[in-house]
């Protein structure tokens, strides 16, 4: 990963994409790193496609614009898969996708041969563990498997802090499961 890691999450309003980037940023902070987390700000409507961004670095972060060439892209909702989610990616970009399809089919839908693709069935995991198709934390587990951008321990700690009690444990559990199940292309 580069000195400044730029992350872009694609989700739908209500799926907790911004919460997810906040958790990543807080986990980084816990490790003594600098971080940023912000959504692509639009009218907040449940179900509408939204973006959330995070930046993580060992140095203070001066840049204050959107992320155009992400090092990590994650897609929280399979219905969002398409060329739009791979805009601006580089050869080294890690793409983590919530899908039940094989990587070859995902590639076809994305329309790119660039980037390193990881897949996980986050919707199934979220339904099993949390009981709702909210995939943000499952996708974080998969991102960490693919990149180690922060440690699993840091993420679990901030997740328990953020949700607390039973929801904290369930989210921690779904993070672990997705971490185990995410597979590279």
């Amino acid at each position: 990963m580069p000195e400044l890691v730029e992350i872009r999450l694609h989700g739908r309003g209500g799926q907790g994409a911004w919460t997810a980037t906040n958790l990543l940023a807080m986990a980084a902070l816990r490790e003594g790193k600098y971080s940023q987390s912000f959504p692509f700000f639009g009218p907040e409507r449940g179900g509408a496609p939204i973006l959330a961004f995070a930046r993580i670095s060992d140095k203070p972060i001066d840049v204050h614009c959107m992320v155009y060439n992400p090092d990590i892209v994650a897609v929280l909702d399979p219905t969002l898969l398409g060329p739009k989610v791979v805009e601006g990616i580089k050869d080294e970009t890690v793409m983590v996708v919530n899908t039940q399809d094989p990587p070859s089919k995902v590639r076809e839908v994305l329309g790119t041969s660039r980037g390193k693709l990881w897949t996980v069935n986050a919707t199934r995991l979220a339904l099993e563990v949390i009981g709702r198709p909210i995939t943000n934390t499952a996708m974080l587990g998969a991102i960490l498997k693919a990149t180690n951008v922060v440690s699993l321990d840091s993420l679990l700690a901030v997740t328990r802090e953020r949700f607390g009690g039973e929801m904290g444990e369930k989210n921690a559990s779904v993070i672990r499961k997705a971490y185990e199940e995410a597979v590279p292309e």
């Binding site: 906040n22 902070l29 940023q36 700000f41 001066d62 840049v63 204050h64 155009y68």
Partner: protein
Amino acid sequence: MELGVAKQEVMGLTGDEAVAYAVKQVDPDIVAAYPITPQTIIVERFSEYVADGLVNTEFVPVESEHSALSTCVGAAAAGARAFTATASQGLALMWEILYIAASMRLPIVMAVVNRALSAPINIHCDHSDTMGARDSGWIQLYCENSQEAYDTTIQAWRIAEHPDVQLPVMVTLDGFVLSHTLESVRVLPDDVVKRFVGQRRYIRVVGHEYKEVPLVLDPENPLTLGAFGMYTHYFEYKRQQAEAMEKAKRVIEEVGREYGGISGRTYGLIHPYRLEDAEVALIGLGSTMGTAKIVVDRLRQEGMKIGLIRIRSFRPFPREELLKSLSHVKAIGVLDRAMSFGAYGGPLFMEMRSLFYDEESRPLISDYIYGLGGRDMPIKLLEDVARDVKRNADRGRVAEPIRYVGLRE
């Protein structure tokens, strides 16, 4: 006061949360506010602090921004420390009270989360709201990041209440880009903040029924504030306001230095970056100037002699400091995130061009209007701006004085 740099906790805070946290630590007497996007988080967080009993502040949930600032005016005149926060249309609704707060010399602190003005309705960042208020008599300090929003909110009280100043202070932060962006923020311990801001000091009124009293509304020692002032006195009031603004420059620097002593983060009127040998300079306000640092670094690697100045204090305008810092620069690119319709360029451009009028050697100055209504200013676009300024420097004249960048035409 020399305390040494305090041990600081690192928190993940949005710009709004950073402001609310600073206000919590200052614990003012009155907070009167009306929520408006993207300032809402400030009011929400602060009302939680009130509900949780973490502050002694009286929180006044008013029905409009006009009332919010009016409440602050009354409270500050009665000797209280008063705070409010707003954005865009909310600031617009405060308009007549803005001038009253400044002219009555009330040291109110207000966070303004920069947001475009309607129409069309828009909730995102530009500087149209506070730029419109630039002649209202408020000190205006523009922040680059969430850390600075926290730091400046604390410093603002000391600046506003300084006996030589006695003026209200606007602390501005870019809507969403800062207000809703979680960043690493180092926060001082409560007691260090309390010691730094101290108690509000009052101007003394001499000769009040043969004695000296503090300049506050007090039934025991009645005073009239903000009274009728005809052509016999009004003009002198205004001249004194101008004098206070002038004196505020020194105070902003002193307070910024003293704050550096306790936090390790020193602030001034302007913040230059890699400017020493620069031929080309970018100049602007707010969060975009953080992104511009990346651009300066990249172009320096290519060999371009470029630097930048971020203006922290737009009011008072740091005339001498800018002239001194820019004396060796050939060409300046001004970044304006607001328009002045019918004028020749944006508000900052007009200041910059006027600044050099009396100078023997004047740099070439071009204006780049950008980011209205929250349009993003990516690195690539800023690089284009920098290259355009460089071309002006190379050819020795400004090809196009006013350009709109990132605009579909």
